[in-house]
Symmetry: C2
Subunit: 274 residues, 2 copies
């Protein structure tokens, strides 16, 4: 593990590291709050085209994370590197578009194991190298990363005590902007996609106690890709609680994310401090 | 005036505009807090290499500015454009390095009138087009922009009710990284530089009631370019109050700025609400 940068911030430290993973070199960011810990760990999964850096620069999470004593870990959104198929001309496939699945199809299966990376590989490193209390983990994210957070929580409810999302893709199997990637990573048999789709997971019996979701009403991707009402439909007749807040005037940007960041941090803080 | 972008954020709107000024097209950002106004106006001047966008993305000012009802205006740091001498190979001269002076020397004098732009040209536009209370203005900034804020306040104490700075260049006439630019913009006669140098202005009789200054102790530019102690020396035997806070561990980055942003906003808010 190599330190890329370390910056004092709000009494804690914003770190960026590089390490060998997924057959390439992966970069991730960790905000360590002031104090000795061990700290609960809150995972932030970013959206399409992002790296670890976007939310680190624009997410405005450090002030309150420092106050609440939360360690924030921000992975990259895909493997990268000269030998990785990244499709730089396509923002919905390859680099920046890992969709948090474990690919089964060539050429992606060699590197695109993002689900295992964010739920196992990177957590092992965090547990080993940081003052982290891995018995208290939460997960959240934005858009494709909101999808990632929902599926991680639904697939591993024993690992995460809290989950929330900003404008998540709740049903990527049926969204135009994700179908192509799921087909490339998982093959044409759509039944294999269900294991990485929040709505399908719930239909197939996966459960998580409660989700907080903020969604901007002025989000240009609302109808085409996000459609949080499909999650509301899916949880009917289950004991899953969804607190879905439609936010008038807000779009899909980090201006939206940073506005509601505090609410999400408090949501996780309450559940991770128990 | 042309709208470049508008994003809802913290109940207000983060605007970016373009307009004709300085013989070219200038871009600036305005955060308008929620409500009808008129709002006090707080000017943020950015540092070397920055545009209006850096603090807009990384400064973390909107949450508290919305709460305090402050309009935040962020100008660019220099004229730009194909016909403007920008010296793209030199980060300390030309584009991104206007140093908030009115240049007298060719070829700069045609466009590099940043002092007039931030104290007259842009304020006139703000007064005309926004719900701004121009009788309540404060100014702050970072590094070169901290220098800009200090000289604007010292030169126009009747205009600004509050001034603060993050890691300001307090004495650019004697700092290696600014001497070259001052010579290019103002000519070799250093007596002409004194009108754009906070320490020299105070030596020459300029006054402002009080400054808040935060300075990171781990700032790699501290000794070579910033040297806030020179301002402390200059105010001896004057009635100027400087609250200089040396911050252990902090560097010159936006991680430093965003950490102390709230304190600066409260400083201005208290003085602008009266």
């Amino acid at each position: 593990m190599e330190t890329v940068s370390a910056n004092e911030c709000h009494g804690g430290t914003q770190w960026v590291y590089r390490h060998d993973a997924l057959g390439t070199t992966m970069t991730f960011a960790v905000f360590q709050p002031p104090g000795d810990g061990p700290f609960p760990v809150l995972w932030y999964l970013s959206g399409l085209t992002c790296t670890h850096a976007n939310v680190m620069e624009k997410g405005e999470y450090r002030r309150l994370a420092a106050e609440l004593g939360l360690m924030i870990v921000c992975p990259d959104t895909s493997p990268r590197g000269d030998h990785v198929e990244t499709h730089d001309d396509n923002w919905q496939l390859g680099g920046g578009a890992g969709f948090y699945v474990d690919a089964t199809e060539p050429p992606y299966r060699d590197h695109y194991q993002m689900y295992s990376y964010v739920t196992e590989g990177l957590p092992h490193l965090i547990a080993e190298r940081f003052p982290a209390d891995m018995s208290r983990q939460g997960i959240f994210g934005h858009s494709m990363g909101g999808h990632g957070a929902l599926i991680c929580a639904l697939k591993r409810p024993e690992v995460y005590q809290s989950c929330s999302a900003f404008a998540p893709i709740v049903n990527p199997s049926t969204a135009d902007w994700s179908r192509n990637a799921l087909q490339a990573y998982l093959g044409p048999d759509e039944s294999h996609w269900r294991a990485y789709d929040a709505v399908c997971l719930i239909e197939d019996g996966a459960r998580f106690p409660e989700f907080l979701i903020d969604q901007g009403e002025a989000d240009s991707f609302l109808d085409s890709g996000l459609r949080p009402w499909l999650l509301k439909d899916a949880i009917q007749d289950t004991e899953i609680a969804v607190r879905l807040r439609m936010q008038p005037g807000y779009d899909h940007s980090y201006f939206f994310i940073s506005t509601f960041m505090d609410d999400h941090l408090r949501w996780h803080g309450e559940r991770l401090s128990q």
